[in-house]
């Protein structure tokens, strides 16, 4: 009985557990022990619920959860005139896919944070914000309601900005946080404007309800522009990326790894808006090419800006922008052939598969790389790569984890980055060879720039100033090791992963009718 109840209310618990733990933290988390138990326990519980939920969705199809209704499946009340008025969580395979990412990265990051952040004060506030951010990201990827998406977006950006500013660092961290927060607020307000436009026309806020009535009038087009611009800014694509290196480089490293996931939740929002909200009705060639153009610019400018950087985290932040370009390129090609069933079947779906697969892989190896950067900063106390050298002698495990992450981001087999890039290259090549060739060039430059980091940080003779340096504590190694293990396992078994997790997610993204009928048929 209670098992059944748990299964029924898992979507609500997914948000409730981190939120309740977050608000309990300032009261109960006064000592180191209780703080650790609450933070790690809440995150572990959230991850378990998330994995359970994803498993349920992958095995038995779209899951609806209607807040405040008599039964969680009653999406359209009989007296509402056919409009779903309540807040509905619509969890399809794509949402489950993103939830899985949050679960894995979130748990590793919390494990890592258990020792990496302990040298600082005010940690109960830190974990309060951190858990709130997790709740915000989980809400963004699972909600089926546009206004609710705005609220969760604001929760995750506000908590994220607070965390970026957490270690003031003579005001520099606050500067990064301020830029991040002002731009996020701006984007969120535009998103709210678009939500208003939809309510004006269709009297609905639910994504499925709006999608089923979508006219693609002039107002809808303006709303689409606002949504695309706001969400592309939030996911950090060039030329809207300026806040990304500022915020990523100044945040504590465990937070940066989570900010990557938060950006990808915005990317999810972008794809959800284009595919599910508008679907075939929008002008797919134009929108597809805009997304491809953003992707190409992100790839190229991101990687070229990364090469001359001196700050290790700023360099990695530019790589995060560059890798976002691959996802935009893959899915953009899918959008550009959305209305052409023959091309969609022959390479469009593969391109979308590649883009989504890359989201997962990116969250894993980029999270890992930011965590290793945090370990380096933990030992050396500086971010400046010019001041580093010879750390490989004392930090062997960190060096191995860094190598795994660096080879994965550069697309070297047998790590997971190779598998997703291979899918993207092959499918994009059939769409336009030039784009695929530029993508490969960017991959080479990525490798070049990580060779630079590897050489300047780990290689060379042991520097006298780090003679007392030691390997980082065990929880940090465990957090990195978990992500590194996933990077390797997916690299060796890409086929089952694509078949069972990525392909259903891509199908769910393209299948607009299925999404609508899941909500409309739930009455």
């Amino acid at each position: 009985m209670s098992w059944e109840l748990l299964r029924l209310h898992a979507p609500a618990l997914l948000i409730a557990v981190p939120l309740v733990a977050s608000f309990a933290m300032p009261i109960l988390g006064r000592t180191k022990l209780s703080r650790g138990i609450i933070a790690l326990g809440a995150m572990a519980l959230t991850s378990c619920i998330a994995i359970f939920l994803s498993y349920t969705v992958y095995t038995s199809g779209v899951l609806l959860y209607v807040f405040g209704a008599e039964s969680p499946a009653l999406s359209i009340p009989p007296d509402s005139g056919g409009i779903p008025i309540r807040i509905i969580f619509t969890i399809d395979a794509l949402s489950a896919f993103m939830t899985l990412i949050v679960a894995i990265v979130g748990f590793s990051v919390f494990l890592y944070s258990m020792s990496s952040d302990q040298r600082h004060t005010g940690l109960e506030g830190y974990y309060t914000l951190f858990l709130m951010m997790i709740a915000g990201i989980l809400g963004m990827v699972n909600t089926g309601d546009l206004f609710n998406f705005f609220v969760f977006l604001e929760i995750s950006s506000l908590a994220g900005a607070g965390l970026v500013a957490f270690r003031i660092e003579k005001g520099k961290a606050v500067e990064g946080a301020l830029k991040f927060a002002v731009l996020s607020t701006m984007g969120a307000l535009l998103l709210l404007f678009a939500v208003g436009i939809f309510y004006w026309q269709y009297d609905a806020l639910n994504i499925a309800a709006i999608a089923s009535r979508m006219q693609f009038s002039l107002l809808d087009q303006i709303a689409l522009v606002m949504l695309v611009a706001a969400l592309a800014m939030k996911c950090g694509s060039v030329p809207l990326h300026f806040w990304t290196p500022d915020a990523y480089s100044m945040a504590p490293s465990s937070v940066t790894a989570m900010l990557v996931v938060s950006s990808q939740a915005s990317l999810y929002g972008l794809f959800r808006v284009i595919f599910t909200l508008y679907g075939i009705k929008l002008d797919w060639v134009t929108v597809g090419w805009i997304v491809i153009a953003l992707g190409m610019l992100s790839m190229f400018v991101g990687v070229t800006m990364a090469i001359p950087q001196k700050d290790v985290k700023r360099l990695m932040a530019y790589h995060a922008i560059s890798q976002t370009g691959y996802m935009l390129l893959g899915v953009g090609v899918g959008i550009a052939v959305l209305g052409d069933p023959a091309s969609l079947q022959s390479y469009g779906m593969a391109a979308i598969d590649g883009g989504l697969f890359h989201i997962f892989n990116h969250a894993m190896y980029k999270g890992l790389l930011f965590l290793t950067a945090g370990a380096i900063i933990y030992v050396t106390g500086t971010r400046d790569m010019n001041a580093m050298g010879g750390l490989g002698h004392r930090m062997k495990y960190t060096m191995i984890f860094f190598m795994i992450g660096a080879l994965a981001i550069a697309g070297i087999p047998p790590f997971n980055g190779f598998a997703s890039k291979l899918v993207i290259y092959e499918s994009v090549y059939r769409f336009s060879p030039v784009l695929a060739i530029i993508a490969m060039l960017v991959s080479i430059l990525t490798l070049a720039s990580f060779v630079k980091v590897f050489h300047s940080v780990f290689m060379g003779p042991e520097l006298p100033e780090y003679d007392t340096g030691r390997e980082v504590p065990l929880p940090m190694l465990l957090g990195m090791g978990l992500l590194a293990g996933i990077v390797i396992v997916i690299g060796i078994f890409p086929a089952p992963f694509i078949d069972h997790l990525v392909a259903p997610a891509a199908q769910a993204l393209v299948n607009q009718a299925g999404y609508i009928s899941a909500v409309a048929g739930g009455g």
Binding site: K179, V182, Q221, V225, M385, V423, S456, V457, L463
Partner: protein
């Protein structure tokens, strides 16, 4: 049964082959190392670098620091870097202006021209 062969639509890829090659290289490297000089000592003069009789620089001086790497690359496409790097001004107004500018650009393409 988990299969490692990965069909991409245009071809296939099996990481095990790569791992096999990797392992083979490791074995080869071990063999070379194994046949090496056995009289090597870890202390003394022979571990020091030999620079034509000059004294080796201090440990910190020997390391090639990050900013020296890829100097040639950035120099070769200096025209590009001179335009792109200063665009990252760090001024909040510019960030907002870029955001609104790109939004109007997309608006023009998506709504006006089409």
């Amino acid at each position: 049964m988990l299969s490692t062969t990965f069909h991409t639509g245009a071809g296939y890829w099996n990481p095990l082959v790569w791992l096999g090659v990797f392992l083979l290289l490791l074995v080869l490297a071990y063999l070379f190392w194994f046949r090496g000089e056995s009289g090597y000592r870890r202390e003394g003069e022979q571990t020091k670098p030999f620079l034509s009789g000059n004294r080796a620089p201090a440990r910190g001086e020997m390391h090639l620091r990050a900013s020296h790497l890829y100097w040639g690359f950035t120099e070769a496409i200096r025209g590009y870097y001179e335009r792109v790097v200063p665009a990252h001004t760090g001024v909040l107004n510019d960030y907002l202006l870029w955001f609104l500018g790109v939004m109007s650009f997309i608006l023009v393409i998506m709504v006006v021209i089409r």
